[in-house]
């Protein structure tokens, strides 16, 4: 087999594999997608090329949110700890994407329990001099956007707070 033909066969094989990865990743909740991902999953995960394109879907977010950390000491004191990024700025021009902002939003996502545990353990160690802490409480502050009609009537965003997780310090 000459080199050109060999290259073409290799390209065909790669294309089929890569396109299978796309199909498997897009249909991962379907039995066929699951079967494909058993083969293409390691490739997808290693290269970080998973096909998750849910930007602003199924709906655009109606809230802005961020995490707040509170340390609970053994004697019952509550200490507000430095924020990862805090409330979004309300003026000026943001010229650079805040990676920490993305991290912060992941910290308060419901399903990210192990991420929160890791971050909270980091807080236990970093701010031990202000405690020592028995727990770190992760709170989510959500700033709800009014509906377009309410906005035009002059109503503005309102804040709400909830505890997402309380993590025991090691």
């Amino acid at each position: 087999m000459d080199t050109h033909r060999l290259r073409r066969v290799a390209a065909n094989l790669f294309n089929l594999f890569h396109l299978s990865m796309i199909v498997g990743s897009l249909s991962q909740s379907h039995p066929v997608g699951k079967a494909i991902r058993r083969v293409t999953g390691p490739y997808e995960r290693l290269l970080g090329v998973y096909q998750n394109w849910d930007m602003f879907s199924p709906n655009a977010p109606r809230v802005s949110n961020w995490a707040e950390m509170v340390g609970l000491t053994r004697d019952g004191r509550e200490v507000a700890l430095p924020l990862i990024i805090g409330a979004p700025v309300e003026s000026g021009f943001r010229w650079r994407y805040d990676r920490l902002g993305k991290f912060d939003r992941n910290v308060v996502k419901k399903e990210r329990t192990s991420l929160r545990r890791g971050v909270a353990h980091g807080y236990c160690a970093t701010y031990a001099d202000q405690g020592p802490f028995r727990f770190i409480r992760v709170e989510e502050v959500t700033r709800k956007t009014p509906t377009p009609a309410e906005w035009l009537e002059g109503k503005r965003r309102t804040d709400a707070r909830k505890v997402v997780q309380q993590v025991a310090c090691p």
Partner: protein
């Protein structure tokens, strides 16, 4: 039987034409240079937050990343044990991107740039945006193309060696189109997939999605200005119109771009949409990375009747 054989032969020829027609290698060269610039910009912009997002003592310590149990994780940023080493790895990570821009050892540099991107991703997946993923997919594709065949130190060096050997004949560098096709397919998949996911959402149906996206303080680029604009009813009408146009355009992108007469419409609308997103919202490198992929639609397969071209890409004579 002979009809079946004929059908198979035609199908194979169509397949080969689709994947292996020749294009001007300068297409890949332009992609290499622009992607190198994009990757470099995206990487350097990590610097102000580097120690906090990737550092051994950052918000996501290495021990937590390793304990996350993620399979197939590997990162160059796992090795630094102090901030000095972290900065060294970070700045060394710029070199392959510079190599891509200059076209020095183009394929190797593109692969190394991919390794740097993967390293950032695996060290802290929680700081990644959609644009990072588009850039990884684009880099992977481009690493498979002969992107150093033109406008590069590689090409200049090869021409010098040929001249030294007495071969001064001018050559036009050709490359098979298949990498270009992969980028085209990926672009269509992204738009159509996101369109399908949005299609059932109430805010996309009632035309308020763009209002909510623009008013989310997590994403606003110029918060006070955007809020002031949203005080005007006409901006709400435009936002509703923009919501429906975006949804319709995403869902139909595959068809619009496939048909040559509507291709310009699909790409111009996309360019306008991404310029709008980039100027008003903080969504990382997503818009530039997507617009980068548009280059894949500006290539024209070279005419295939020339025997040397058919030979060069392995098609039957």
């Amino acid at each position: 039987m002979s009809r079946l054989r004929d059908l198979l032969r035609r199908a194979t020829a169509a397949w080969n034409l689709f994947w292996f027609a020749a294009i001007d290698a300068r297409t890949y060269a332009a992609m290499r240079i622009t992607l190198g610039l994009l990757l470099l910009g995206n990487h350097v912009l990590l610097a102000p937050e580097l120690t906090r997002v990737l550092g051994p003592q950052g918000y996501y310590p290495l021990s937590v990343a390793v304990a996350s149990g993620a399979r197939e994780r590997w990162s160059l940023f796992d090795y630094p044990t102090d901030e000095g080493q972290l900065w060294l790895v970070f700045w060394l990570g710029c070199l392959p991107m510079v190599g891509m821009i200059l076209g020095f050892q183009s394929r190797l540099m593109t692969l190394l740039a991919m390794a740097v991107e993967i390293s950032v991703h695996h060290r802290s997946p929680w700081i990644q945006h959609g644009g990072d993923r588009v850039l990884r997919l684009s880099t992977l594709s481009l690493a498979l193309a002969p992107s150093g065949a033109a406008w590069s130190i590689d090409a200049w060096w090869a021409a010098r060696r040929r001249a030294a050997a007495g071969d001064d004949a001018p050559r036009s560098a050709l490359a098979p189109i298949w990498v270009n096709r992969l980028i085209q397919i990926q672009l269509v998949v992204i738009y159509v997939a996101t369109g399908v996911l949005k299609e059932g959402g109430s805010t996309w149906q009632n035309g308020t999605a763009l209002f909510y996206a623009l008013s989310s303080q997590n994403f606003q680029r110029a918060p006070a200005l955007t809020d002031a604009l949203l005080d005007h009813r006409v901006v709400h009408w435009l936002a509703s119109l923009g919501t429906w146009v975006t949804l319709g355009w995403e869902l139909s992108f595959g068809l619009l771009v496939l048909w040559r007469p509507t291709r310009w419409l699909a790409l111009v609308l996309g360019l306008a949409l991404h310029m709008g997103i980039f100027s008003t919202m903080m969504v990382g490198a997503f818009s530039p990375a997507m617009v980068w992929c548009y280059q894949a639609f500006f290539t024209v397969p070279l005419l295939l009747w020339r025997p040397e071209i058919r030979r060069a890409i392995g098609l039957p004579r």
